[in-house]
Symmetry: C2
Subunit: 404 residues, 2 copies
């Protein structure tokens, strides 16, 4: 860390200028585009060009809700190395890494100005017809190809060390699995949810399942997972998809990535009921149906590609055992359900919320969406072990909606 200093725009431009990415004597312009809470993000291009490159530099602290705590710069290494692994497995589905600088904790990577954050697209109720197939394939490839089923056992253990990420895991452990389930200082929630949240804190059956899910997150070194695969970590155009920001990557349970995605699609689903004042019912219902259908399609695409890859690429001798792949996939689905539930609950009760709900200014309206999210989240956690197919998850969401 001795060489580390946070760049300003001028320094960022000079830094990139030396890398030989742009022709000599290019006339560069630089804009800082990050929110500066965790990272500095610079967009640098030739004056006349449409796109250029991104510099993402980790800051040695996290600034959340006015507070600031120290945060490892090693996450920049994790992110750049995970992007490289993902690129090998899913070429074109992550930003290209041009350069990584350990001393400055920065990565120079592909400019994605042509893409938008998926969450923004969902908030605008946009349909992405290719999305399910693309992300299903990304999940199947990145998860299965980094697991013991395909990797040489010695290499897998080396990868576990390479992607040991204790400080970033600790954030998830606290904010996803611990703090939302008691009256923790980090929590913040809509005061209209007081009663609901207190019920959650007193729900022993729920907390028992949360304990088991946290244990899985802590102990199940199954695959190199993205670790933070919400709809803000995915960028899209009408036909392209890129998965960004794998700074939480580590060897963990496959279901955590699948569940994170489901949770965020379901948060968008739940947010629709909060818009009842401003958007006609038909539009909201249609988009809810689109989202549930997308969840089903993501799972089907995931399962199809996972089975095909297993057949083609499994090197683990036990992989051929009769019934094993079916059981393996079923356990991913059940884990995904439980993790999706945790992730929904924490986005309403815990420190970090989602814009889908947060953008609803009227607290009463927002509470409607949040209550639905809490309802679905709890059911996913409690019934996770008994989920048998993807329709059990989407039906459960519909049932909670109509019961509510």
């Amino acid at each position: 860390m001795s060489n580390y200093y946070p760049l300003n725009s001028q320094q960022a431009m000079e830094y990139v200028g030396k890398l030989g990415i742009f022709p000599d004597h290019s006339s560069l312009v630089c804009r800082e585009i990050g929110d500066g809470n965790l990272n500095l993000v610079f967009h640098i291009k030739e004056k006349s060009a449409a796109t250029g490159v991104i510099i993402k530099q980790a800051l040695p602290y996290a600034r959340v809700v006015g507070e600031s705590w120290p945060l490892t710069l090693d996450r920049a290494r994790i992110e750049s190395e995970a992007l490289i692994v993902h690129h090998c497995m899913c070429p074109g589905m992550v930003p290209k890494v041009y350069h990584y600088d350990p001393g400055l904790a920065l990565t120079v990577m592909e400019d994605l100005s042509t893409h938008i954050i998926l969450r923004k697209g969902l908030m605008a109720r946009t349909a992405y017809p290719l999305f399910a197939k693309q992300i299903g394939s990304f999940l199947a490839r990145t998860l299965l190809l980094t697991s013991d089923i395909v990797l040489d056992p010695l290499e897998k253990k080396n990868r576990m060390i390479q992607f040991s990420n204790p400080e970033m895991c600790k954030i998830t452990e606290d904010l996803v699995f611990t703090d939302p389930y008691y009256d923790a200082e980090t929590n913040r929630f809509n005061p209209l949810l007081d009663e609901e949240v207190k019920k959650i804190w007193g729900n022993d059956k729920l907390k028992y399942q949360i304990a088991k899910l946290k244990e899985k997150f802590l102990t199940h070194s199954q695959a190199l997972i993205h670790g933070d695969l919400h709809t803000g970590s995915i960028m899209v155009t009408g036909n392209d998809l890129k998965v960004i920001d794998p700074e939480f990557a580590f060897y963990g349970p496959m279901g955590f990535d699948v569940g994170a995605l489901f949770a965020n699609l379901l948060l968008s689903y739940a947010s629709q009921v909060g818009h009842s004042l401003s958007v006609e019912e038909r539009k909201r219902k249609d988009y809810q149906n689109y989202l549930l259908n997308t969840i089903e399609q993501v799972w089907l695409a995931f399962e199809q590609e996972f089975r095909a890859l297993w057949k083609e690429q499994a090197k683990e001798p036990t992989a051929a055992a009769k019934g094993y792949v079916d059981d393996y996939i079923m356990r991913i689905l059940q884990d995904a359900s439980g993790f999706a539930g945790c992730k929904m609950l924490r986005r309403v009760i815990g420190l970090a919320h989602v814009e889908d709900l947060e953008s609803i200014e009227d607290l009463e309206s927002r509470a409607k969406g949040e209550k639905l999210a809490l309802g679905i989240g709890q059911q996913l956690v409690i019934k996770g072990d008994r989920i048998q197919n993807i329709k059990d998850i989407t039906s459960l969401a519909k049932k909670v909606s109509s019961d509510g």
Copy 2:
């Protein structure tokens, strides 16, 4: 490895002489007492003294059944560091480490000449009234205190790196979970078992469970386990117990250690029927009952200490969730059953056998014991998921005996 050379007795004596363990000008004697297959073991003492010290030096290869393959010297580090961790948690229950030399891959440790290998004691049908309580406590302490339930999450992840042990794990992965289940070159078994073994190779239900157990071994980073806790890794006197040889230690499933112990007690149980020509039935039956009772007592001692420690020392906030500790313990028992089954099968079919059975020279007699071991082992694997308490395991052993 550049400084490494294997010591001879003279060099071993000179090496110890310089450590200041013995008074200056002591007159030392040295005897090599290992079998030289994996390690050199020297016993060094003052001429007139009863006890001295042990030097254990790893060899850069393993010599098994005439073959020789390269084997990491890092296992000497793993062993000495695991002994130190175990000593902190269970003072007096492992040999004291006096000195560790990474370059020579050797550890100077406490002399246990006063103790015998437990397996030898079992072969002589000796009863050890304190054994169950001692080993139950060792298991509870070493497993729970190195888990996420007690350790700080950052420290646990650092320990996972410290005890990353891929080459030694690979040996277990191959010899316990893979090779015994097909016609592998490494296998060797009594020709009178041909039919039984072929049935095992064709048993899909069994191989499905084996695949899941292997997955658990590969992915479940639950605690720092000994990794090879058979009755040859335990030394005893009438009232003392020491656990030795943790060179397979790594972060794995708790049930693997518990299961290894159960397997080896059950192998001794099974071996009794092989002695029907030479030992009267009453004696053999009594010892079988003693062994099953010991298994029950080990588990009860383990569970009691585990619950007490959980109550006193759990730092993981979710540990208090209602019903969680019960579920946690139940899963250890079920895992132990499955792993015990694998371990029994591999000791009959695979590369490394146990003296309990191997010492029966008459192949017909030995096959009787081996068939019982295969019968119990298969049932433990297949029924592992449904085991509800320790008596389910001992009853199962009795039932297979009487059915056989």
